[in-house]
Amino acid sequence: MPGSERYTKYEKARIIGARALQIAAGAPVLIKTDKIDPIDIAIEEFEKGVIPITVKREK
């Protein structure tokens, strides 16, 4: 993806959504945090750039 490392709002929503679901289902959390809500945790992970998920864009 040359020139656009930025995620679109839809990509951001999907990444955080999928990650929150994983965390809710018991996936290990990748940051140290006091938060409890999986969505909040996923958002924090996203902001820190540690979510091991990317998007595949059409060429």
Binding site: G3, R6, T8, K9, Y10, E11, A13, R14, I15, G17, A18, I51, P52, I53, T54, V55, K56, R57
Partner: protein, 450 residues
């Protein structure tokens, strides 16, 4: 100084915003080989302060901390903004250049880029749906099913919802065709000349310039011309006589009357002839029922016409065809091509919406115009145009005549790619729009393992 060198200086000066005449002046008086020119020397040479700075900058003489025009040029060109925005930004920055520092310039550019990125539509946004809603909602505020008329002088033009429907349905002919005819400068500034031109364009029939009567006694048509009308419309008697003769009927021309006889002496023929003569075109362009001279928004005289005939108006002397328009989109597509038709759709819709006091972003309308014209012809939105040409079997079947559509598709072995919204809803899949179109991939893993 070599003239070549001088040319270059002039060019450079002009490109940095100095007026041509001044640039020439500077180039003549100025010895570029001597680089030790200061601001004082320039003002002593009678050069205005604002140009002196540009010149100093060009000569590479730095004024500490200042932002030079070339800085603006370079910095702005380096941004990922579209060309139109760049040039607007440049000209605005040049105005406030004095107040800028490099840091300020940078932060301005950052802000502009951020705002621009923000305003851009994200990929996979359902722009079509948003456009439909953005026009549909204001549409409900237009008086429904009521025909609104607002006119220029005595000419009435359909406006409001009926007009929008007309455009979107891509009617071959609008219910009230009309043109705005701009004129060449010499006509545009002279009301009298413009009025003559209006007469030239407006269609004039025999019945407008005289009385047509049928006389059953001697089986002839009596035509008595009205001299005042003739004069007003600048038609000579000879012209009318010429026209009558072209009918190829026995004619008897008298001082104030013209008698036209029938060939077969039948009443039926007499009646038909009367009708025919009354409606004979003596002057003007067929289809232009009225042409009115008015001052246009630019303060020049122009013609507003009832009826539209773009092709014929183009040939009239004194008409500025480049600035002449019609509200008949099909006609524009035919005469000027599909790109012009696209622009006409945008203009017509925008002005109709604006006239109703509705503020719709032009990009929604642009999208609709694009969708209507992509194929190279003006297509309506609806089942006979855009909606009816869907490639998906399922969405066509969901729309109308389900069984026929499915049967037909089965016979031809059609394949549904499940790309559209309807198809995916039918199948029960997430639709390929917005979040539904994002494909997620787990990072870091994959590739060869051993």
């Amino acid at each position: 100084m070599v003239s070549e060198e001088r040319e270059k200086i002039v060019r450079d000066l002009i490109s940095s915003g100095v007026e041509r005449a001044i640039a020439k002046e500077i180039a003549r008086d100025f010895r570029v080989t001597e680089l030790s020119v200061g601001r004082d020397a320039l003002s002593a040479a009678g050069i205005a302060d604002e140009y002196a700075e540009d010149i100093l900058c060009m000569l590479g003489i730095e004024v500490a901390g200042e932002v030079k025009p070339c800085d603006i040029e370079i910095q702005v060109n380096g941004t990922p903004l579209p060309e139109k925005l760049k040039s607007e930004l440049k000209s605005k920055l040049r105005v406030v250049r004095r107040m800028l520092t490099r840091d300020k310039l940078n932060s301005i550019l950052k802000r502009v880029i951020a705002e621009y990125e923000d305003a851009r539509v994200d990929p996979r946004e359902a722009v079509g749906v948003v456009a439909a809603q953005s026009i549909g909602e204001p549409g409900t505020q237009m008086t429904l099913r009521t025909f609104h008329y607002a006119g220029v002088g005595a000419i009435y033009i359909t406006l409001g919802l009926p007009r929008i429907i007309e455009i979107v349905d891509a009617r071959k002919k609008p219910s009230t065709p009309a043109m705005k005819v701009r004129l060449q400068p010499e006509y545009a500034s002279d009301r009298h000349k413009a009025e003559i031109l209006a007469m030239e364009i407006e269609e004039t029939h025999i019945k407008d310039i005289g009385k047509v009567e049928s006389s059953a006694d001697d089986m002839c048509i009596l035509l008595s011309l009205n001299n005042r009308e003739l004069e007003k419309r600048r038609i000579t008697k000879e012209e009318v006589e010429e026209k009558i003769k072209s009918l190829d009927m026995p004619v008897d021309i008298k001082e104030d009357k013209i008698k036209i006889y029938t060939k077969n002496n039948s009443y039926h023929e007499l009646l038909r002839l009367e009708e025919r003569i009354s409606n004979m075109l003596v002057k003007g362009i067929e289809g232009i029922k009225r042409a009115i001279v008015r001052k246009g928004p630019e303060g020049e005289y122009m013609l507003y016409t009832e009826g539209s005939a773009l092709k014929k108006v183009a040939k009239i002397e004194g008409v500025d065809f480049n600035r002449t328009t019609t509200n008949n989109i099909a006609e524009i597509a035919e005469v000027l091509g599909i790109e012009a038709a696209r622009n006409a759709i945008i203009d017509e819709m925008m002005s109709t919406l604006e006239e109703q006091g509705l503020d719709v972003d032009a990009r929604h309308v642009t999208l609709i115009a694009d969708a209507m014209t992509v194929d190279g012809e003006v297509k309506q939105i609806g089942r006979h145009g855009l909606a009816g040409e869907k490639t998906s079997v399922l969405s066509r079947a969901a729309f109308e005549v389900t069984v026929d559509n499915l049967l037909e598709a089965a016979i031809h072995g059609e394949v549904d790619e499940l790309k559209g919204v309807t198809e995916n809803v039918i199948v029960g899949q997430p639709i390929r729009l917005g979040t539904g179109a994002v494909e997620l991939v787990a990072k870091n893993y994959g590739e060869l393992m051993r």
